[in-house]
């Protein structure tokens, strides 16, 4: 297996695997957000900004997979 073929297999795998964790995290976060807003609609204004702050923090982990994609893909010459 040459280097380009290995990169073609591993780079999409890196992006896919890296997005599993944030997907679970954002799913749990959104589910709890909707649960709490449905239970107490008056807290929505207070927790929506916190929801977006956490969204930004969790989502960054998924982008690290894309950083790996970017770094490896710009190095390969086909």
């Amino acid at each position: 297996m040459d280097v380009a073929a290995a990169a073609m297999i591993s780079v999409p795998l890196a992006v896919g695997l890296a997005s599993i964790g944030p997907a679970i995290g954002i799913g749990m976060m959104a589910s709890h957000y909707f649960d709490s807003v449905a239970r107490q609609p008056e807290v929505q204004g207070a927790i929506t900004p916190q929801f977006f702050i956490t969204l930004g923090v969790v989502e960054l982990l998924g982008l690290f997979g894309f950083v790996a994609f970017y770094l490896v893909f710009s190095k390969i010459t086909f």
Binding site: P49, I53, G56, E59, L60, L63, F66, V67, S74
Partner: protein
Amino acid sequence: MEHFWQVSFGNGLTVHANTVLMAWIAMGLLIGLGWLATRQLAVIPTTRQTAGEFFYDFCRSITMCTAGPRGDGYLFFVGSLFLFILTCNLMGQLPLKLFGPLLPHGELMAATADINTTAALAIISLVMYIALAIKRTGIKGFVSHHLQPHWLFLPMNLLEHITRPASLLIRLYFNILVGEILSGLAMSISPYVLPSAVIFLELFVAVVQAYIFAILSAVYVGLMTEVHDDHHADDAHAH
């Protein structure tokens, strides 16, 4: 990425002219709309003034929810960041490929799809929160903030000044870049229907990313300008 129109000025200074052009257009748009919205202010607002007040209220809600009334001191900074990033992100969804043949190299795309723009914004955020922290708590308070909760945490507190701007820059840049790549991909698969779905997603991402960048900057400023020594000092300033 080979999509940039690079202009060299000698001395090793190279500028991505397409990014600079888009950023200037965004600035001009914001200055023009701001001028329009604040002309002939009245107690009973016109439609223009109401639109301006809506954006002002939204920016103020960002600082209010992170630092309370204390946040009014840096509303100018957070509000400008939010409006500039929002304008840049949304401009990326215009049919800019039509203007591609007018440029000698590269193509027009959102200014925030270039890592130099997002790095500059992240560095502005870093400098701003350090400056506001020193202005509010003094040099002594700024240094003692790094010794919280114990002096052993000093390396970790110093590391935060690198990870905070780095995470801001990576988040914004890669979100917008992924959008550009995704819409290019959709365009090559099916040029008629599929891109509109991607553009719809990208409009949402553009607003959310601008909001997250602004709110995280506000949180960082709010954390750095907290007064630690006296728990009642904050309340005394607020009232």
